[in-house]
């Protein structure tokens, strides 16, 4: 991969730091009145999700990281790995481990499309769609005639996520959920 100098650090650029692929979040140039310029850089470690703050002398460089976001459909779980297939017509398949799937496991639904982040060709992160339709697997019975009032109850979705839903929701219904906030949006 190419090397990138601090003046090429742009938001979203993928670089290697201490062996881990990182995405540049912020890059601030600082020039003391007299003295060497430097860059204060925020980088998101794509393996851990943690944000690192580092300082580099201006002109220093980092190696680019071979990181690609690819749309893939979730196929199945074999007990150890979660299998995905590219939706670009190549039918290329990738197996993601528990570390790569992380919290997204609770939003996994067969035949749904996810963004799989590949580092050197292997999945390191799975991002669910912002909105997803999921079946209610379990919730306490709904209260008749309480369709307008507020109030909510927990419901376990077929994918495993537990979501607060309005009291009138019944088991077997399909709901639209926002995966970023984990909140109920509407009936699907």
């Amino acid at each position: 991969m190419a090397n990138y100098s601090t003046n090429e650090f742009k938001q979203g650029l993928k670089v290697l730091l201490e062996g881990d692929p990182c995405s540049i979040v912020e890059n601030e140039f600082v020039k003391p009145g007299k003295g060497q310029a430097f860059n204060r850089v925020k980088l998101k470690n794509l393996m851990t999700g943690r944000v690192w703050e580092r300082t580099f002398k201006s002109g220093e460089s980092l190696e680019g990281a071979d990181v690609m976001d690819t749309d893939m459909e979730y196929l199945y779980n074999d007990g150890e790995f979660w299998h995905f297939m590219a939706t670009d017509g190549s039918f290329e398949q990738h197996a993601a481990d528990a570390k790569a799937v992380g919290d997204t496991v609770k939003w996994l639904k067969e035949q749904e499309s996810y963004v799989v982040t590949l580092f050197n060709g292997a999945p390191i992160a799975i991002t669910p769609p912002n909105h997803i339709d999921l079946l209610v697997a379990q919730t306490d019975p709904g209260l008749k005639g309480d369709t307008a009032q507020g109030g909510s109850k927990p419901a376990t979705m077929a994918s495993g996520a537990v979501v607060q839903v309005p009291l009138f929701i019944e088991e077997g219904e399909t709901l639209k959920i926002d995966t970023r906030t984990g909140k109920y949006i509407s009936r699907a």
Binding site: E28, P32, K34, G35, A37, R54
Partner: protein, 304 residues
């Protein structure tokens, strides 16, 4: 701000500056942009002017200082200029490759006298209270809890690690400059413009040395308003031998860093013999416009 407001702001400021100096008998001069030598400062690079046949024509100036000092040495008396200046590799919300400097010199003034006058100029341009000042030493003690002259190296580098997460190679002076830029300067000048004064002698550049609070200092000062650096001034060094030694130290540092070697401005060194006692300051006019407009970035007030 739309374009016509920007044009009006810039024109008004320049008219105020000219009236301010006219009232004090400081004469406006125009100096060349392309000169045979650039600054030797190891961390300032400038563009070069190249002819159509590739011939090197000279260096675009990072400041009109050398040219103005040659005029002062020839008896120009008090002078000011409003001029474009250039620096390579300095691009950001408050940095541009080409920018505008207001630079001026007062014959017979000490640094303290010049600071008083600059304070009046700022009140005229920015409608602000009169300037305060704090020494480099006291500002470090206030913001970081230790004295930049006396703290052990271990304290300086540990603070750099904590504040900036930097553990690479850097000199003590470099570490102080970075900490000053990130931890000290942003706190300066929030009520009124503030001069940071009495820099360590190693950061003198073209200022004379003096002792202050028992430490070897430079009579160099920077001006900050609302955390933004607006200018850099000196009680000017007039000793050509000392100046040559500093230029040569700069070139040695450039060699160490693998930066380009540049010619020393011999015409300046020759003229320093005749340079009268004086103080001078360079003020970033683009940043003054930015603050006058209560903007955060140069792009909000620039014409291009």
């Amino acid at each position: 701000m739309d374009l016509s407001e920007r044009i009006a702001l810039q024109a008004r400021t320049k008219a105020q500056i000219r009236a301010f100096f006219d009232a004090r008998n400081v004469t406006e001069v125009t100096v060349p942009s392309v000169m045979p030598a650039p600054v030797t400062d190891p961390y300032i690079e400038v563009p070069r002017a190249i002819g159509p046949d590739g011939a090197h024509l000279g260096y675009l100036q990072s400041s009109p200082e050398y040219a103005m000092k040659r005029l002062l040495a020839q008896g120009s008396g008090d002078i000011f200029t409003i001029t474009p200046a250039w620096r390579i590799d300095e691009v950001g919300p408050r940095h541009r490759t080409e920018f505008t400097l207001l630079e001026y010199y007062r014959v017979g003034f000490t640094g303290a006298q010049l600071r008083d006058e600059v304070s009046q100029l700022m009140q005229t341009l920015l409608d602000c209270p009169s300037a305060t000042q704090i020494s480099y030493r006291d500002a470090f003690i206030r913001e970081l809890g230790w004295c930049p002259f006396e703290a052990a190296d271990a304290v300086v580098f540990e603070t750099l690690r904590q504040q900036l997460n930097y553990t690479g190679e850097i000199s003590r002076t470099g570490a102080l400059q970075w900490l000053c830029a990130c931890c000290v300067e942003p706190q300066l000048g929030h009520q009124a413009p503030c001069f940071l004064t009495h820099y360590p002698a190693e950061q003198a550049a073209l200022a004379r040395h003096l002792e202050h609070q028992g430490q070897a200092c430079a009579d160099r000062f920077e001006l900050f308003y609302r955390g933004v650096e607006l200018g850099n001034g000196y009680w000017e060094l007039t000793d050509p031998d000392e100046q040559r030694a500093r230029f040569e130290a700069d070139l040695a540092q450039r060699a160490l860093e693998g930066s380009p070697q540049v010619p020393i401005d011999e015409a300046l060194l020759t003229s320093l013999v005749e340079l009268p006692e004086c103080s001078g300051i360079a003020l970033g006019l683009d940043r003054i416009w930015m603050l006058a407009a209560e903007a955060d970035e140069l792009s909000q007030v620039s014409l291009f």
